[in-house]
């Protein structure tokens, strides 16, 4: 926006002092150009993830096994649309327009969470996504609810309240399948096997390989490192898996008495980078689905505009 490319060092120092005091930065406050850019990048990626995240589960709405599950899934997917909108609206306070951000998503320029580039092969995937993916999102978003940028933090507070339902409905569905027929058990175990590692990757690269993360931490956007959050997620999830007698696909998983952590094996970072760079199982399919939805929605937007124009004309005529 108006901020010059090289920021005045005195203003940067004053800004960093505000961050150090734990103050919350608001849209009209002065901020370093880099802070604004990093926030736009991070928040828009987050918003895109909510929107693209509707696709893998949306696939199953018409095939939900009962009306109860169908209602839950519809409500959850609708919430994700809401989450995308809250965060787009927060991103716009930084001086960008939503249509630019949506344009970057549809053109393939923008990134979103790589987890949504994996396929949902069976109904059990829907439960496991609620349990793992929304569970991981809660760990991450609870931290972001204390972010230094006010509009982002407030969106996260609202989102965290809704995510608890997402996780619980998923875990309930998983627990139901886990105590079902041998076929249902095998189906849910298979979904767990496929989603576990990609869920751990959701927290991003190890801290030492994450330059963006370091900068975001320095400015109080992120309050915890990727590795710490990932460990927290593993510690929360292992007992939940044990409670429903499901195995997590990691032979190296073991409890460390001294640290109180569940230690886990090597993450396949090659797979992570392959998916991030666009070659995951569903990258192309997801973008194609978003583009199709956007194009097919054009008539709705046109109709809304025509209606509004007609209303305006009749108000003028009546006046």
């Amino acid at each position: 926006m108006q901020t010059p490319h090289t920021d005045d060092p005195a203003r940067v120092a004053a800004f960093e002092a505000r961050i150090a005091r734990g103050e919350v930065i608001e849209p009209k406050d002065w901020m370093p150009d880099r802070y604004r850019k990093q926030l736009v990048r991070m928040m828009s990626q987050h918003a895109h993830s909510e929107i693209v995240g509707m696709l893998p589960e949306g696939n199953w709405i018409t095939r939900a096994p009962s009306l109860r599950r169908k209602m839950s899934l519809l409500a959850k997917v609708q919430d994700e649309a809401g989450h995308g909108l809250y965060i787009y609206c927060g991103t716009e306070t930084l001086g960008v327009d939503r249509h630019e951000l949506v344009g970057d998503l549809l053109s393939g320029k923008a990134k979103y969470s790589s987890i949504f580039n994996y396929p949902t092969l069976t109904w059990a995937d829907v439960g496991v996504i609620g349990w793992f993916v929304d569970g991981a999102a809660i760990v991450n978003q609870t931290m972001l609810a204390k972010a230094s940028y006010g509009p982002y933090a407030r969106a996260m507070v609202r989102i965290c309240k809704e995510e608890n339902f997402h996780k619980r409905q998923g875990y309930e569905s998983v627990a139901t399948l886990a105590r079902g027929t041998p076929g249902q058990r095998a189906m849910v175990q298979d979904a767990v096997n496929r989603w576990w590692w990609p869920s751990l990757m959701m927290f991003g690269p190890n801290d030492k390989d994450s330059p963006n993360s370091a900068e975001l931490t320095r400015w109080g956007v992120k309050k915890k490192g990727n590795d710490e959050l990932r460990q927290r997620f593993v510690n929360l999830t292992v007992p939940q898996a044990q409670a429903v007698h499901l195995t997590l696909p990691d032979p190296a998983l073991k409890y460390n008495e001294a640290s109180g952590n569940w230690e886990f094996g090597q993450i396949d970072w090659d797979e992570f980078w392959t998916v991030v760079k666009g070659d995951g199982p569903c990258n192309r399919e997801r973008l194609a689905a978003r583009r199709k939805a956007h194009e097919e929605g054009a008539w709705v937007r046109a109709a809304a505009e025509a209606h509004a124009a007609k209303q305006r004309a009749s108000t003028v005529a009546a006046a």
Partner: protein, 104 residues
């Protein structure tokens, strides 16, 4: 992104911005909760309901064109609010009352 452009040339998903205020319960003041894009006030209200009130979060919604909001400038926070800084006598603690008397 070429479809659905309104006659005035604004891009298709970039309708005017409206700020949304929600009254969490009867008798409470309205609070700002976010914003929505909409072609007109009626659509802004419907969008605000779908985005910000899916779980009975409020009893009443206001939508206001964002362009109509005038705010104070964060940079001027000191001088702008300083008329209130030296007026301790506007607070009850400023006044001494006889010991042991219950004033309230």
């Amino acid at each position: 992104m070429s479809q659905g452009k309104p006659p005035d040339g604004t891009p298709d998903s970039q309708w005017p911005l409206w700020e949304v205020f929600i009254q969490p319960q009867y008798g409470a003041p309205h609070e700002h909760c976010g914003s929505v894009h909409a072609v007109d006030a009626e659509q802004a209200l419907l969008n605000a309901r779908d985005v910000y009130a899916r779980r009975n979060e409020g009893m009443n919604l206001w939508v206001v064109p964002s362009s109509a909001i005038v705010g104070s400038t964060p940079e001027d926070v000191g001088p702008f609010f300083d008329p209130a800084n030296d007026k301790a006598y506007r607070h009850p603690q400023f006044y001494k009352v006889p010991r042991g008397v219950k004033v309230f």
